[in-house]
Symmetry: C2
Subunit: 288 residues, 2 copies
Amino acid sequence: MKSLDESVFAIVGLGLMGGSLALALRAGAACKEILAVERNDDVCARALARGVADQASADLALAAQADIVVLAAPVRTILAQLPEVGRQMRGGAIVIDLGSTKQEITRAMASLPASVQPIGGHPMCGKEVAGFDAADAQLFRGAVFVLTPLARTAPSTLECAEAIVRSIGAHPQVLDPARHDQIVATTSHLPFALAALLMTTADDLAHQDELVFALAASGFRDTSRLAASDTQMMSDVLLTNRRNVGNVLRDYGRRLNRLADAVEREDESTVNAILQRAAAKRRELFHA
Amino acid sequence: MKSLDESVFAIVGLGLMGGSLALALRAGAACKEILAVERNDDVCARALARGVADQASADLALAAQADIVVLAAPVRTILAQLPEVGRQMRGGAIVIDLGSTKQEITRAMASLPASVQPIGGHPMCGKEVAGFDAADAQLFRGAVFVLTPLARTAPSTLECAEAIVRSIGAHPQVLDPARHDQIVATTSHLPFALAALLMTTADDLAHQDELVFALAASGFRDTSRLAASDTQMMSDVLLTNRRNVGNVLRDYGRRLNRLADAVEREDESTVNAILQRAAAKRRELFHA
């Protein structure tokens, strides 16, 4: 097996995540060549002009030249691309993805030709701004990068994936896909849903009262930030993690109703217990 | 009536908001003297040492020396202080508060002696860190500062309050207390409740799975930020805006269930409609 710095990468999808990976690999001189598969001609041209990619085209056939193929599109696009990527890849090549849910992708990876080596991936970082122009070589620095090997994933493939993760400044965390999807439903998909529904709630009130957004301060701004995330990406995420997301949203709804009950009946001790527990945990995690 | 720069201020409660007001008034040389009424001896000593206050004591009797009394404690402490403040104040003096809900406070202000001039206030800014040490002379800069005059509030009192607001770099917005409380239930109290319940939801899962917070990235961090807010302040806020808060939380819970329904039945067009509306509005408001 080639060392990382002798390897040719094909990155499929040069948006925020794929573009940031290309920039990070290049910044660290971590690989030999970067081939970009990207539908948007302008992005291809800019990636070539900036030296971020050595070749760029809309054709998945570029994957045939790669030692390591990275799928960096929204989850359901990855699911659609996998069979063709598998047909194109050379024997022994590795395919890893950057998708935000892992069960459906690793299930689809299990059907790839036996000659290729698949492993799931999910870097725990992002921005609410999408696209190649928002890409950032520092995006992965310090982030946890989840790796979900399949039963068929060779130890050397996992080692290679861990080397990629470390080369961009992230920390590998091997995880079962089901466990990953359950955790991120709470830590990532729920915060996104809360931000989106906060925006629609406030927007509905703003249709009755023109001062609503004039009174929205930094708390509203930060709590609603994720609502600006790429909607195609997030729609794919929610729809490929349906059971976990449904369960978490309904559980959260019950918590909201219990808080509403306590507020309405002026049950100060219940309100305080909820608020104090939340504040203590938030301060422990982020102000330590 | 004295001009602002000839006026003596008494600020009751030298926490984040009262402390920031004292710093901002001082930075702008906007008044003659600042008297601090503060229960915490250490804070009094530091305020005097830093020259933020000219006198500082736990005794509300200091209010008797002031032309303008500012109540900067949590809402229910303000409600408890108002009768005594009214007894102490000299004739013609103004009392304004910085509390986050306005209906109960303006109702209590209506019972003050006829010789004093009350007006409600609420600066639309804050931090999730409480206390005098977090106070910041720039906190109000650029913020909307709601003023809620009573029927008995003289035009000259409103003018004086507007001058105070402008002297600290904020923008006055006159508003009816009921309308204020309805709007902030959505723009401020709802985001806080969402952040607090996000923390307790994740913490419950973390008791079953030790990797939960390892996978929490910047989205979780920002969406949960308000959970660290001062719990006494926020408990007072929710409990003095019970009907609006209860209605908003229940309405929001119904939106969550509708989104959960759409996700579970893989209703892509409903999911996309919600996500796209939220993203468009968020980008219009904050990325323009």
